[in-house]
Amino acid sequence: MTPRLHAAPLWVLPPLLLLGLVFFYPLSLILAQAFAPGTGGVTGWEHFAHILGTPLFQHALLHTVQIALSATCACLLLGTVLALLMSFVPFPGVGLFSRLIETYIALPTFLLTLAFTFLYGSAGMLNGALVAALRLDAPPLDFLYSMGGVLLAEVTAFTPFVLRPLLASFSQFERAQIEVASSLGARPWHIVRRVILPAALPALLAGGSLCLLLTVNEFGIVLFIGAKGVVTLPMLVYELAIQEGDYVSACSIALVNIVISMALYLFYKAVLGRLGGALAGLV
C-alpha cells in the first residue's frame, strides 16, 4: 500500500493538469479579464465597480433573480402537487407518466421552447385555432414573448427536477402515518401540511435549490424566446461578449454569475448532505 500511496501524486498529475487546462485556466482568464484595467487610467477594481453600478447590469440581475425565484416557487408548487397526486392518489397510467417525466429531464431546454413556439407563438396552433374560431384579424395571445413566456417555459422544463426527488421521498413514506393521522381526526390537507410535507422537506429543499441553480443560469430558453426587455445575466454576458466584443465587461458580469452559481451549488450540496440526501434519492 505504501509505495502506491507515494506514487499517487505522479499518477494524478496528468489529469490534474488536464483539468486545470480545460477548466481552471478559462476561469482564471475570466477572473483576470474581469479585473483588467479600463481605458483612461481606470483601475480594474474601478471598472468592475462601474460595471456593477450600471442600470443594464442591475436590471439583468433583477430579472435573473425575479425569474429564478418565481420559476423555482412555481416548480416547487407544481412539483409538490403532482408528486402528491402521483404518490397518494394513484391513477391509471401513473407509472408511464412517471417514466415520461424522467425522459423529459434529458431533453435540452431549447427544444421545449421550440415546441412552445409551435404551440403558443404568434403563428402557433393555439393562436391559429383562436383566430379561426373567433374570426380575428390578429393573434390574440402574445404572452410567449414576455417574462411570462420565459417563466412558463422554465417551469415546464425544471419541474421534473423537483418532482423526481419528491417521488423518491414519498415512495419511502410510511403509509400507516397517514392512516393514523386520519383516524385521529386530521383532514387530508392537515395531513399533507403536518405529516407529509415535513417528511419531504429534504427532498423539497434539494429539488428547490437545484431548480434555483438551473434557472439562474438558464440561457437557451431566454435566448430562444427573445422576450422584449427581458435580459438576464447569462444573456447580458452573451450580448456584451459576442455581439459587442466588450470582453472585460462581459467577464465582470460572468464573475458575478459564477459567484451566485457557486453559492447556490454549495447550498444545494449542504442541503443534500445535512438534510438527508439519501432520502431524496440523489446521493
Partner: protein, 381 residues
C-alpha cells in the same frame, strides 16, 4: 354453546360499542371478509384472532374506515359509520410499527389528534399530560421518536390514540414488532390500561393467542374471512365449539372418537380405541364420529395400574424441555398426544410405556369436520 345464524341482522350497538352487520369485503375477485357479523359491547375488550389472511386486520380497517365493505354495515355506538370518512369516526388507532410522526417530539405526537380537531390549548396540554402519565412516558415528552426504544414508542402511540378520548380503540397487532421480553411486559401494561379505562371499547387484532387470552374479555376467531367462533376467553379455551378453534386457540390434542350414549344428562361419553371415556356433555348423536379435545396441561402421567377413569396408555416418542414446563409426545393407539408436565418432574425415557389420564370436565367433544368450521354456521358461546 349454540349456533348463530350468520345473516341475522344485528341492531346498533349502544354507547361506544361496535357492530359488524353482515360485512363483506372483496379485493377484485378475492373475498377477504365474508358476511361477517359481530357485536362488541361498549367497554368490552374484544380480540380478533386467526391465521394470516383470515380477514382480522381487514375487519379492523373497516371499523377505522380505511377499507370500504362491499356489503354490510358498520356501527359505532348508535351511528352507522359505513360511509363516514375516517377522520369523522372518533377512533384511536395503534398499529404494529407505531407510525409515530418522526419530525415531532413525543408531546407533539400525542397532541396531534386534538390539534387536528381544533381543541383548545388548555385541553390539549391537559390531555397530553394525562395520557403520557397513563403510559408512563411523562419523562420523555421532549424527545423525538428516534430517541426511544420500541416499547417506549408503542407507549407513545397508545397515548396518542387515547388523547382524543376515542369512542373505540383499535389495536392492529400492536406488539408484533417488539421482542418477546418487552412484549410480555407490554401485555401486562395493556391489561392494566384496560382496568384503568373500563369504559373504553377495544378491538384488538393479533395472531398471538397468549395476548388474546391474557387481555380479552371475549375472543372472536376468524378463518378464511368468516367468523369461526366467538365467546368469552375462558369458555372459548375450555370448550372450543369446533375443531379449528380447538387447534388454533391453545393447540389442543384432538383424538378421533365415536360418540356413545351418556350415563347422565350432565356428562358425555365417547369411545376411543375400545376404551370408554367420560367427557363434558355434548349434543352429538351416539355413533357419530367426533373429536375429543384435551389440552396438553389437562393430561397427567399416572401409574400403569391406575384404577381411575379416563386413562390412556401409550409410548413416549419424544420429550421437550421449555424451561417453565416440559412436553411429552406420546403415541397412543395411532394418535399422538402432547402432555405438559412441570419442569421438576422426572419423566419416563423415550420409548417407555406410560399411562395418562384427564378429568371429564376438561374434555370437550367437537364434530369431526376435517375442514374445521368452514361451511357451517358460525359458532358462538
Amino acid at each position: 354453546m349454540h349456533a348463530q345464524g350468520a345473516a341475522a341482522p344485528l341492531p346498533p350497538a349502544g354507547g361506544r360499542g361496535i357492530v359488524f352487520d353482515a360485512v363483506s369485503v372483496a379485493y377484485q375477485h378475492s373475498v377477504v371478509l365474508d358476511d361477517f357479523s359481530l357485536r362488541v359491547e361498549a367497554g368490552e375488550f374484544m380480540a380478533l384472532i386467526g391465521p394470516s389472511g383470515s380477514g382480522k386486520s381487514t375487519a379492523l380497517r373497516c371499523v377505522a374506515g380505511f377499507t370500504q365493505p362491499r356489503a354490510g354495515r358498520i356501527f359505532i355506538g348508535n351511528s352507522d359509520v359505513t360511509k363516514v370518512p375516517p377522520y369523522q369516526r372518533g377512533i384511536g388507532m395503534v398499529v404494529q410499527n407505531y407510525a409515530l410522526f418522526p419530525h415531532m417530539k413525543v408531546e407533539d405526537n400525542v397532541a396531534f389528534g386534538l390539534q387536528a380537531q381544533g381543541a383548545p390549548k388548555e385541553r390539549i396540554a391537559r390531555r397530553v399530560h394525562e395520557c403520557l402519565r397513563l403510559v408512563g412516558m411523562s419523562a420523555y415528552q421532549g424527545r423525538y421518536p428516534r430517541q426511544l426504544s420500541g416499547g417506549q414508542q408503542q407507549r407513545v402511540a397508545i397515548a396518542r390514540a387515547l388523547a382524543i378520548e376515542p369512542r373505540v380503540l383499535l389495536l392492529d397487532e400492536p406488539l408484533s414488532a417488539l421482542d418477546a421480553q418487552i412484549r410480555r411486559a407490554m401485555v401486562e401494561e395493556l391489561s392494566s390500561l384496560h382496568q384503568a379505562l373500563p369504559e373504553l371499547t377495544v378491538l384488538y387484532v393479533t395472531h398471538d393467542q397468549t395476548e388474546a387470552l391474557t387481555l380479552a374479555d371475549r375472543i372472536a376467531i376468524l378463518r378464511g374471512g368468516k367468523l369461526s367462533a366467538v365467546g368469552p376467553s375462558h369458555a372459548l379455551y375450555q370448550q372450543p365449539p369446533n375443531r379449528f378453534s380447538a387447534e388454533f386457540l391453545g393447540n389442543a390434542n384432538l383424538l378421533p372418537v365415536v360418540c356413545e350414549p351418556a350415563s347422565d344428562a350432565n356428562a358425555g361419553a365417547v369411545q376411543f380405541a375400545g376404551t370408554r371415556l367420560s367427557t363434558q356433555a355434548h349434543a352429538l348423536a351416539p355413533g357419530s364420529a367426533a373429536l375429543l379435545c384435551v389440552r396438553p396441561h389437562a393430561l397427567e402421567v399416572v401409574d400403569a395400574g391406575c384404577a381411575m377413569a379416563n386413562v390412556l396408555h401409550g409410548t413416549v416418542q419424544s420429550e421437550y424441555w421449555h424451561g417453565e414446563q416440559q412436553t411429552l409426545r406420546v403415541e397412543c393407539a395411532g394418535a399422538v398426544l402432547r402432555v405438559s408436565a412441570p419442569p421438576h418432574l422426572t419423566l419416563p425415557p423415550v420409548g417407555a410405556r406410560i399411562s395418562v389420564r384427564f378429568d371429564a370436565a376438561l374434555a370437550t367433544v367437537v364434530p369431526d369436520d376435517a375442514s374445521g368450521s368452514q361451511g357451517r354456521a358460525d359458532a358462538a358461546l
